[in-house]
């Protein structure tokens, strides 16, 4: 029995500690990779030829499309973390979910902002209720709702399960939302804005785009790991403050 109990406390304590050691080593490396990839990606982007249709606005694509991908990837990372919370009750899973949410919101916001800046010269309006922008807007609301939920609890450990359950419920429904919004869009605006949907993109655009996507991914993982480290620190501070308070009250009692 004692064996089991100690095993449990290793799960509860040592793992975040081991994670901290790993994170401290990994973050500088990730940061270097992120900066290098961004530099290469940007260099390639600015050296890409002018698109015959979009002119130089194709430059916006290189930073817009990856944010939209990252917005979705971040949600997947959060959903995986949510499974970790629900199935294994692993504290690190909750730390990961919580830290990813603001990053997801940031990428989603960037996708909307750069999309809007791309849309103005292309479609002539800042905001078009087209299928993609609308779905991304809904995703942003979901992210902000989850962040609000994570902040609503006094005791952070109490937020873990609600956050995980809500994240996974969203994960199950997001494809339906995407589908319904696409459907709604074709109903109201018969394929007027999807003119950029060219099946094949020339390699002169594809390669910079892919490198930029990898750069954004590296940025995400760097920031995610840094945010996770912060979250673990916050929890340690909290535990320490609580144990200090307890010790104080115990002293007062005797």
């Amino acid at each position: 029995m004692t064996v089991e109990t100690t095993k449990l406390s290793i799960w509860a304590f040592a793992n975040p500690t081991r994670f901290m050691g790993f994170a401290n080593k990994a973050i500088p490396m990730l940061a270097i990779i992120a900066i290098a990839l961004s530099a290469i990606g940007l260099w390639m982007s600015f050296n890409a030829p002018e698109d015959y249709q979009q002119g130089y606005t194709v430059l916006i694509m290189f930073i817009h499309v990856p944010t939209a991908w990252l917005a979705m990837m971040t949600y997947s990372v959060m959903s995986l973390s949510a499974i970790g919370t629900i199935v294994w009750r692993h504290p690190l899973a909750d730390v990961s979910l919580r830290s990813a949410a603001p990053l997801g919101a940031m990428f989603t916001f960037l996708a909307l902002a750069t999309g809007s800046l791309w849309g103005k010269p292309m479609w002539g309006t800042w905001w078009e209720w087209d299928a993609r922008m609308t779905s991304v807007l809904v995703l942003l609301i979901i992210y902000l709702g989850l962040i609000a939920l994570s902040k609503a609890f006094d005791e952070p450990s109490e937020a873990a399960l609600p956050l995980a359950v809500m994240t996974l419920t969203g994960f199950a429904i997001i494809p339906i939302i995407k589908f319904s919004v696409d459907w709604w869009n074709t109903l109201h605006q018969p394929a007027s804005v999807s003119r950029f949907d060219r099946p094949a993109m020339g390699p002169e655009f594809l390669y910079p785009l892919l490198i930029m996507a990898f750069a954004y991914m590296a940025i995400f993982f760097t920031l995610h790991m840094m945010a996770m480290r912060n979250e673990i620190l916050a929890r340690r501070i909290r535990t320490m403050k609580m144990s200090a308070a307890r010790k104080h009250s115990a002293k007062g009692a005797t």
């Binding site: 629900i86 809904v138 609301i141 979901i142 902000l144 709702g145 989850l146 609000a148 939920l149 609503a152 609890f153 109490e158 399960l161 609600p162 956050l163 359950v165 809500m166 996974l168 419920t169 969203g170 199950a172 429904i173 339906i176 939302i177 589908f179 319904s180 919004v181 459907w183 709604w184 109903l187």
Partner: protein, 219 residues
């Protein structure tokens, strides 16, 4: 489980006439629209399906924050969770009761509001049937929102923020189905079946997710 349904319905009748309040809220929402868009009957009848659906959506969110929080405060939640019944089934019944007392009265009241908004009989029929098929999904998804905020003293606003984006598909297909019934080239059956499918899907997903939450929410 029938006993639970009966209790829930009794409760919402006793405590402030739940069904009536929902319909009143619906009436209030529907009647402020003409003030905003003007009394043009043509425009109103064009917007009517959307107005009715938004009204129903908002009215269905009423009382969601109390769905489990109330049970938790008076200690009933512990007893509901302890029994051998599958917890998801208990939650399903509670969500169903919530729908019976908020969604269903709206469906029944729809003809009246449809007439006020100059909707044709066909449009009223289509609105009723889509609301009947679609509003339960709001209660089922709402149950998840209610479960995750069960410990929050004022979760009402948060539930709305969490639940509204998730019910967009129902709104889209619901209104599209009504439009389909009224305007010729647009289809009715396809969006209506989507509404039904989403309701069936959420009737499983919602109670399951909420049960994961409530099983471990005790403290």
């Amino acid at each position: 489980m029938l006993a639970l349904l009966k209790r829930e319905i009794l409760l919402s009748i006793r405590a402030g006439g739940g069904a009536l309040t929902g319909v009143l809220f619906f009436l209030a929402v529907v009647s402020v629209f003409p003030f905003a868009v003007g009394p043009d009957t043509k425009l109103l009848s064009h917007l009517a399906p959307a107005i009715l659906w938004i009204g129903a959506l908002l009215a269905s969110l009423l009382g969601l924050d109390r769905l489990f929080a109330q049970e938790r405060e008076d200690g009933s939640l512990d007893l509901l969770v302890m029994q051998s019944h599958p917890l998801a089934l208990t939650i399903f019944v509670k969500a169903l009761a919530h729908w019976v007392m908020t969604g269903l009265p709206l469906v029944i009241a729809t003809p009246l509001f449809g007439i006020m908004l100059n909707l044709s009989p066909l449009g009223i029929g289509a609105t009723m049937i889509t609301l009947l098929a679609g509003t339960p999904a709001i209660s089922f998804i709402g149950a998840v929102g209610a479960a995750v905020s069960v410990k929050l003293p004022r979760g009402g606003m948060l539930i709305s923020v969490l639940v509204l984006p998730l019910v967009i598909p129902i709104l889209i297909f619901g209104v599209a189905a009504i439009t389909g019934a009224l305007e010729e080239p647009a289809p009715f059956t396809a969006p209506f079946l989507f509404v039904c499918a989403i309701t069936l899907f959420t009737s499983v997903l919602g109670p399951l997710a909420a049960s994961i939450m409530l099983r471990h929410s005790a403290d």
